[in-house]
């Protein structure tokens, strides 16, 4: 893959209302078993207002952060996981031996071993959709319009530049950015 970064996904917690459409869109797009997806929506509660919720209840879609320094990649003994030049962490099912080290190592519960194939699966930012000019399935279908692509106008930015830009949005550990008022 090239070294031009794909746009990171920006999650607007003010708009996510926890409907889990993204999960269904992801499951269908990646032809996963109906109960599986690479994105999972978590619910959080506090007794006072929290980001995303004036009433103390927020919804947080959790998916692969495409970490700057990914734990899963380091943990994989067979080199089946790689961080590519476009910023995306990819799984290569051919090389995967199904040991599950990556699943254990990912701090965010983002990577799953797919029961059917026994190989690692994770959010690929719908790269095949993006290269054909379409939006990732979750981004396109999110009814709350809580998901968007950052700075999609700038096709030429490098991975480094995109990382710079994401600082403006909110909070991130890798290439997925969360924001709220």
């Amino acid at each position: 893959m090239g070294d031009k970064a794909l746009a990171p996904i920006v999650v607007d917690l003010d708009r996510c209302w926890g409907c889990r459409t993204c999960e269904v869109a992801c499951s269908l797009e990646h032809r996963l078993a109906p109960d599986l997806s690479f994105i999972h929506v978590e619910e959080k509660r506090e007794s006072s207002p929290i980001p995303g919720s004036p009433q103390g209840k927020s919804f947080i879609p959790v998916f692969c952060q495409h970490c700057d320094d990914p734990a899963c990649v380091s943990a994989c003994p067979s080199g089946a996981l790689v961080k590519d030049g476009d910023g995306i962490v990819r799984a290569n099912p051919e090389a995967c031996i199904g040991c599950g080290a990556c699943e254990d190592s990912c701090p965010y519960g983002a990577l799953i071993l797919l029961p059917e194939s026994g190989t690692a699966g994770l959010c690929d930012l719908c790269v095949s959709r993006q290269v054909s000019g379409r939006l990732p399935a979750c981004v396109q279908h999110c009814p709350g319009r809580a998901l968007s692509l950052a700075d999609s106008g700038d096709e030429t930015a490098s991975a480094a530049q995109k990382t710079e830009q994401k600082l403006k949005f909110g909070w991130a550990v890798g290439r997925t950015v969360y924001k709220a008022r």
Binding site: V24, K44, C67, A71
Partner: protein, 797 residues
């Protein structure tokens, strides 16, 4: 919880804390250390909050990040990709709910198989989003349980028998001949009233079916919704504003949204997104809901009312507005009638009294009323909840009055009448041939004398009061109903008091059910007709509800077995009943007819994709309102003429004051004052985005995310009863019970439980809903503010 789930939950907490820390620092990011310290131990170096730069986030820039790529470009990209994969795209619109989202059906060219469904990014309404029901709708076509051929029952004879039912396949000709022969025979021997026509939720063919019922000549026609869904709002619009549907919200121009008894985030996502847009623009959001719903979670003010006390809350807010002179004086004096009578009648409703009646703190009542009245323009987004109280029409009226006295009717940003797009409406008495039922025959309609707003001329579809109808079916009094046709309705599940409904169905001599699946109701039939899904048929979706400015179209993308569209089935049946000239042989003929005033054929309209007409404001201020007084009738002369209270009153003053002693909590509770053994207030108002009414429970993608019937319970209440998250719970009333699964939420009031309706089997909450306290004038079966008990169900029970 599995390890992955635990880690995701921890990460979610981290995100919230990370963002909160930014906020706490006055919009400035904290250094990585502050939050980094809380990262999971296994986190690789470098995984730090990226807000390390300490710079002020540029709000404008943040907002600019969101615009989507151009919809036409996205559509073109989808087409190009589909082409490269050997697929073609057929544009249509979803009808897994009334939102009617435009979508793209991807069909394989080689064999015509539908491969996937996506939102249509070029849609001006949806901008490409689609909810789970739409996304997963391919399963509607290929689910192995789809009915593919007409079936005739062989046995057992008892419709309520638990034995497996034996069927034989029959041809369409034989099936329809038999149906026609049988019902013509009943009509000849016992009169048209011995045959009933029942239907489900609106589908585009519903009024064609009403037309058939009326043309056949029977007064017995009805649905599980109607008096419990939409009709109270429509009757309210008619008597209050003189308009068919005048409650659409102009979200793009509003500055305050009051969402009442509705959770659009789950049930009407496109409206939900419009509301989020409004909030993002700075509009205020007030949500009235007994549960901290997905929509309420985003609210500036959340009013947790005790279910069923909507009228009291609305009138309490109204009184704050009138007393505080916060209403629109010009509009009230020029364009309303009955203001003084209303003001006088509600003057005792202080915020404190309102608190005692509704459970909403007085300060919040005050704040919400003031915010709504002083933010202009504002709109009220209401939905089915307001139709399901024990005084449904009055609940609706109280809200319409709230919108009217604050000057929010027919103005940009307020509540508006939807635009007409030129096509012919099916929602008229003329279209459904209502005048075919003469005055003598009308008297045979269940509830005719008691519920004029449902059974008579003011009703959107004059029809039976269904509890009375089912009782009549079960008892044979005052006359016997022998046969029923049930189209698009899982009646054994979707009506309240399911036991009694089943008793009634059990008494039928002949039952025809038209559906896509072998539902609990279809199981009881003599003849089952296989209906096609919305992916297999034409349709003009022009409802006043669907979108404010657009009419959209469906077209067939596949055909499954011998299933057919209801319009085609109705047309064929009508032919056999000698009514052919009143119907359409081919569904396209119907749609050509409906579209003819626009000068377009259905085919041309499909090419165009949608009909558009912008919202028009201020018409009623020029022409007057089409009520008897020409004004917005706060005091309704039309209701008075029907013997229905012309003013919404809510709980009577004496009752409210009398019971307001002690700890001062007065619930407007159906089922009387005895609290044991039913100490909980309950409603069946919870909805899930994965289902619609009784539908979608066979779809693997949807069922995976909500596999069981849920009942929301306060977490501490549950703990006291020994109930943990996900455990089976029996919800019981004096009528019956249902087996549901606990969903614990701390924000639910300790004495409140809320069930998700629509499940077959033991999880059907309608077994627990009885028939009492029908709403005046329209006969609504109340589904809010009922009394129940709950108990933990141990294993093996």
């Amino acid at each position: 919880m599995d390890a992955g789930k635990e880690k995701r939950a921890a990460f979610a907490a981290l995100v919230i804390r990370g963002l909160a820390a930014r906020g706490a620092a006055g919009g400035r990011a904290k250094g990585p250390g502050a939050i980094g310290a809380e990262l999971p131990a296994s986190s690789p170096p470098g995984l730090a909050p990226s807000a390390a730069g300490n710079e002020e986030p540029d709000k404008a820039e943040v907002r600019r990040s969101a615009p989507r790529p151009d919809g036409q470009a996205l559509l073109a990209a989808a087409r190009a990709w589909a082409g490269s994969e050997g697929m073609e795209i057929i544009p249509s619109c979803c009808f897994s709910c009334n939102t009617a989202c435009e979508l793209l059906v991807f069909r394989r060219k080689s064999d015509g198989r539908v491969m996937k469904i996506e939102g249509d990014p070029s849609s001006p309404v949806t901008k490409g989003v689609l909810c789970p029901k739409g996304l997963a709708a391919v399963d509607l076509l290929y689910n192995p349980e789809r009915l593919k051929k007409p079936l005739r029952r062989i046995g057992p004879k008892d419709r309520n028998s638990m034995e497996p039912v034996q069927w034989e396949e029959v041809s369409w000709n034989d099936a329809l001949d038999e149906v026609a022969d049988k019902i013509l025979g009943f009509r000849e021997r016992e009169g048209a009233r011995s045959v009933a026509f029942l239907e489900g939720t609106r589908r585009g063919w519903s009024r064609v079916y009403s037309r058939l019922a009326n043309a056949f000549g029977t007064p017995n026609h009805g649905a599980a919704g109607w008096a419990q869904c939409l009709w109270p709002r429509l009757v309210d619009c008619k008597v209050t504003f003189g308009a068919q549907y005048s409650e659409a919200c102009d979200f793009p121009n509003t500055r305050c949204v009051l969402v009442w008894g509705s959770n659009p985030a789950s049930t009407w996502p496109i409206l939900g997104a419009d509301i989020m847009d409004a909030v993002e623009r700075g509009s205020k959001l007030i949500v009235v809901d007994p549960r901290l719903s997905e929509t309420a979670a985003k609210a500036d003010l959340w009013l947790r009312l005790r279910p069923g006390t909507d009228t009291d809350l609305a009138l309490g807010m109204l009184n704050v507005i009138l007393k505080g002179n916060l209403y629109d004086r010009d509009f009230v004096s020029n364009w309303t009638s009955g203001f003084d009578a209303l003001a006088e009648d509600i003057s005792w409703r202080s915020p404190e009294v309102t608190q005692r009646l509704t459970g909403v703190p007085a300060g919040l009542v005050l704040a919400a009323a003031r915010l709504f009245a002083s933010t202009s323009p504002a709109c009220i987004s209401r939905c089915v909840s307001v139709d399901q109280t024990a005084d449904s029409i009055q609940t609706c009226r109280a809200l319409s009055i709230l919108a009217a006295v604050t000057g929010n009717i027919d103005v940009p940003g307020g509540n508006v009448a939807v635009s007409l797009r030129g096509e012919r409406s099916q929602n008229t008495h003329e279209f459904i041939l209502a005048d075919q039922i003469g005055p003598e025959s009308l008297k045979d309609r269940a509830g005719y004398h008691t519920y004029p707003l449902l059974c008579g001329a003011l009703s959107p579809v004059p029809s039976d009061h269904m509890p009375g109808f089912w009782e009549q079916l079960a008892s044979g009094q005052p006359y016997r109903i022998k046969a029923a046709l049930i189209f698009g309705s899982n009646a054994a599940v979707s009506y309240t008091n399911s036991r009694r409904v089943r008793d009634g169905i059990g008494q039928l001599e002949f039952l025809v059910v038209c559906d896509q699946f072998m539902t609990e109701t279809a199981r009881m039939a003599d003849i089952v007709l296989p209906a096609s899904s919305w992916l297999e048929r034409d349709n003009v979706v022009s409802s006043f509800q669907t979108a404010n400015e657009y009419t959209v179209f469906q077209q067939p993308c596949a055909s499954i077995g011998e299933s057919r569209s209801d319009v085609a089935i109705i047309g064929d049946l009508a032919e056999r009943l000698g009514l052919g000239k009143l119907f359409w042989k081919n569904p396209r003929d119907l749609y050509d007819y409906l579209l003819s005033p626009t000068g377009l054929s259905f085919g041309q309209a499909l090419e165009k994709r949608r009909l558009y007409a912008p919202l028009v404001f201020g018409t009623s201020r020029k022409t007057g309102f089409k009520t008897p007084s020409g004004k917005v009738e706060l005091y309704s002369s039309l209701l008075e003429a029907e013997g229905v209270d012309p003013i919404p009153r809510g709980t009577a003053k004496e009752e409210a004051m009398g019971r307001a002693s002690g700890d001062g909590e007065v619930a407007r509770v159906v089922g009387g004052p005895s609290f044991e053994p039913y100490p909980f207030v309950f409603s069946t108002g919870a909805r899930s985005i994965f289902f619609r009414h009784t539908e979608n429970r066979r779809n693997p993608w949807l069922i995976a995310r909500e596999p069981r019937p849920l009942v929301y319970i306060n977490d501490e209440t549950a703990a006291g009863l020994g109930i943990s998250e996900g455990e089976p719970v029996e919800v019981f009333t004096s009528t019956g019970s249902a087996l549901m699964y606990a969903k614990l939420e701390p924000e639910v009031a300790p004495d409140f439980v809320q069930a998700v309706p629509g499940w077959e089997g033991r999880g059907n909450i309608n077994y627990a809903l009885g028939w009492e306290n029908f709403a005046e004038g329209i006969g609504t079966v109340p589904m809010r503010g009922l009394r129940c008990g709950i108990r933990k169900v141990s294993d093996g029970r």
